[in-house]
């Protein structure tokens, strides 16, 4: 009974808000509806309406997928200090971070589903009734770790919020083991996603042991960037108190991660360009163009520039402590890494093809619209989750049984 009331009250809180809140939800819903309609166009015509081809057989969808798994994994950066080091200030916002992980994993899963040629056969992945090629296929691993991560990040906040809603103390022995599992799980989702790419000797651009570490480093830069921006917004639009110490911890983590990430990029550039063997063709295409084709070149230099400006801002203490410059650095790093490990990572893997053909990929309006729809869906999901989480955390949303209501 209590659980049903909890969900009911939670949903009611999600649907309660000032006019600006509703305008925001409406705007996001419009984008979601538009994206769904564009997906229907894709579903009824086939993936031919995308810019993908036999030459470049993964595109914008998988690029967003790779990036979003990193955002999801980055929630661990709040989980560890909150539950292991018992940082009270971070514990106050950890559920917001886990809400972000839920939204990011959902988006990542949706990006894979819209990329499928036969979404009607998704059930073939379900063990027993279908056949999941586990543990051989890395994609099978990804299916398991992503759905597991989604469940973990739903279960922990659900339990903690429900306890708070009922005015009970959450049982440390119940949730702590799950928290520990979820920490390792967070690293695993992004490692598995990196292995999905690096497992292919056919694609020398990805076939490097550095890809896993690079994925983690870039996730720990882009993730905190997004969390900082989000917390600043939470401060603006709600009465929820976010301690400045949370922001400065995240900014420090982000600084180090961004430095490591840039170092990794440099290491890759050196290894490939010093001798320029056949394996360097893809990175040559990415940074300098190949055989007259260079549509990604301006993007990657742009991304690199953004990341370098961001890291410079973050390394200068007064600038990192200034709200405005810190937020600028966060936006720059977020966009920079979105390009670098989205399109900048996925597309060059296919150029040139294993038979040496150079064929360029440009996403179509359908792909861009569907992707916008998924992003809007994720933001919408996060908005309503955060709304309910904050209300419960502030103690505004409490369980009241009928008797106490009458006595009031």
């Amino acid at each position: 009974m209590g659980v049903i009331r909890f969900i009911f009250d939670g949903v009611r809180e999600m649907l309660r808000g000032p006019r600006e809140y509703w305008a925001w939800l409406l705007f996001l819903s419009v984008v979601v509806v538009f994206g769904s309609w564009q997906y229907w166009v894709q579903f009824s015509n086939g993936l031919v309406v995308t810019g993908m081809s036999d030459q470049v057989s993964w595109g914008f969808y998988i690029a967003n997928f790779a990036f979003l798994v990193g955002i999801a994994a980055a929630a661990v950066l709040l989980v560890i200090p909150a539950y292991i080091f018992h940082r009270k200030d971070i514990k106050d916002v950890v559920l917001v971070g886990e809400g972000m992980a839920v939204a990011a994993v959902t988006m990542a899963i949706l990006f894979v589903i819209v990329d499928l040629g036969r979404p009607d056969r998704l059930w073939h992945m379900i063990p027993v009734i279908g056949s999941l090629n586990f543990p051989i296929s890395l994609l099978a691993w990804d299916v398991l770790v992503l759905s597991g991560y989604l469940l973990l990040n739903l279960a922990i906040p659900f339990y903690l919020l429900y306890s708070r809603y009922r005015g009970r103390e959450a049982n440390f022995r119940i949730y702590f083991p799950i928290v520990v599992i979820s920490m390792f799980w967070a690293i695993s989702i992004h490692t598995v996603t990196a292995f999905l790419f690096s497992a292919n000797p056919a694609r020398p651009f990805w076939h490097t042991a550095l890809l896993g570490p690079r994925f983690i480093a870039s996730a720990f830069a882009s993730g905190p960037a997004l969390i900082i921006i989000t917390l600043e917004i939470v401060r603006k639009v709600s009465t929820y108190k976010v301690s400045q110490s949370v922001i400065s911890t995240l900014a420090l983590i982000m600084t180090v991660a961004l430095q490591i990430n840039l170092f990794f990029v440099g290491a890759e550039l050196f290894t490939d360009f010093y001798n320029e063997g056949a394996h360097a063709a893809s990175i040559h295409y990415l940074f300098l163009g190949l055989g007259g084709f260079d549509s990604l070149q301006p993007w990657i230099w742009f991304a690199l520039t953004l990341n370098i400006i961001a890291v410079i801002i973050l390394m200068i203490h007064p600038l990192r402590k200034n709200v405005l410059t810190l937020n600028i650095a966060c936006v720059l790093a977020f966009i920079g890494i979105w390009i670098e490990k989205g399109m900048g990572l996925v597309i060059p893997g296919f150029v040139p093809t294993p038979l040496g053909e150079i064929f360029e990929y440009v996403p179509t309006s359908v792909e861009l619209s569907v992707s916008a729809g998924i992003w809007a869906f994720g933001v919408l999901m996060f908005t309503v989750l955060a709304k309910a989480v904050i209300a419960i955390e502030q103690g505004r949303l409490r369980y009241r049984d009928k008797k106490s209501e009458i006595s009031q």
């Binding site: 057989s57 040629g117 299916v143 893997g349």
Partner: protein, 308 residues
């Protein structure tokens, strides 16, 4: 089942009525467009959706499925096809070898393959790619993919046909998340087109660019349809799934040559049973200097190249 027999020679009205009924049967308004699941009657659509993995079907289920495939081909293309399930022959593992000093780049193999294997004409899928290479250079990145076959052989060039190598340790099979592709006992790597979910991870894993995706529903003119088909081979494919060269499984399991070998005007292609010590392919492997493409990746292709 609810499809009326002899509907082919009826008039336009009947065709329209059939389309209308088909639309009702599926409960969708989109009767004009071929639905993504290529469904026909309601019962066939259900049977399609719940069709089991090829390797898990009983022999009765396979028979039913083959009949359904034939029915669907008739309603989709207006052609009566026969879809078979010829099993692998015991003691046979197929291998291929190409004499690159004989290949002149005429691309007759490519055309024969398109015809034989019912490849989508509008989508222009081709299982074989013949690369025009500069003599003295074997770097694939310098190869010409779109040369004019009318002008061959060009002075100073040689030709390298590439298709599925039927690797003995196939990276595509490892990649597939749902076991929709596997190696048969006769060494042919096949795809269950009705099980593939279209994630294209196998295309990413293949070092030979041998796998192709149906970005749209493959269109084949009725008069060009090859009606001798195999479940794991050249039967009509749906949209949204991956396909590849299967050594003409519908021919070779019956002791015939693959279409590309039959079509080759220069005799550059040699196909046969690797387990038969008297086969021509074994003679080539024992007496010629052979090499394989990208052998360093450890995929163990069953496809060799040699020269005189």
């Amino acid at each position: 089942m609810s499809k009326d027999p002899g509907s082919d020679d009826r008039g336009k009205f009947d065709k329209a009525r059939r389309n209308f009924l088909r639309g009702l049967g599926m409960g969708t308004a989109a009767a004009a467009a071929q639905p993504a699941w290529g469904g026909d009657t309601l019962s066939d659509t259900f049977a399609d959706f719940f069709q089991k993995h090829y390797q898990r079907m009983t022999s009765e289920e396979i028979t039913e499925t083959l009949e359904r495939i034939e029915r669907k081909a008739e309603s989709r293309y207006g052609v009566e096809i026969s879809c078979e399930n010829t099993p692998p022959q015991p003691g046979v593992v197929f291998g291929y070898a190409i004499n690159i000093s004989r290949c002149k780049g005429y691309r007759d193999c490519v055309d024969a393959c398109v015809q034989e294997n019912n490849l989508g004409r509008d989508s222009q899928v081709q299982y074989i790619r013949v690369l025009q290479m500069d003599k003295g250079d074997s770097n694939l990145e310098h190869s010409e993919h779109y040369y004019d076959p009318e002008t061959v052989p060009v002075e100073g060039k040689y030709y390298l046909p590439v298709q599925c190598m039927q690797c003995d340790d196939p990276p595509c099979v490892k990649a597939c998340p749902v076991d929709a592709t596997w190696m048969e006992p006769d060494g042919i790597v096949v795809v269950d087109y009705d099980w593939c979910i279209g994630c294209r991870y196998c295309m990413t894993a293949c070092p030979y660019w041998a796998r192709h995706f149906n970005w749209t529903t493959p269109e084949i003119p009725a008069e060009e349809m090859n009606t001798d088909t195999h479940f794991l081979g050249n039967r009509p494919r749906p949209r949204g799934v991956v396909e590849k060269c299967h050594f003409c499984i519908q021919r070779t399991r019956k002791g015939r040559q693959p279409a590309c070998m039959e079509a080759c005007p220069t005799g550059a292609r040699i196909f046969g049973n690797l387990l038969d010590p008297d086969s021509e392919i074994r003679y080539v492997l024992q007496n010629k200097q052979v090499f394989r493409l990208k052998e360093d990746l450890g995929t163990e292709p069953k496809f060799w190249y040699f020269s005189d």
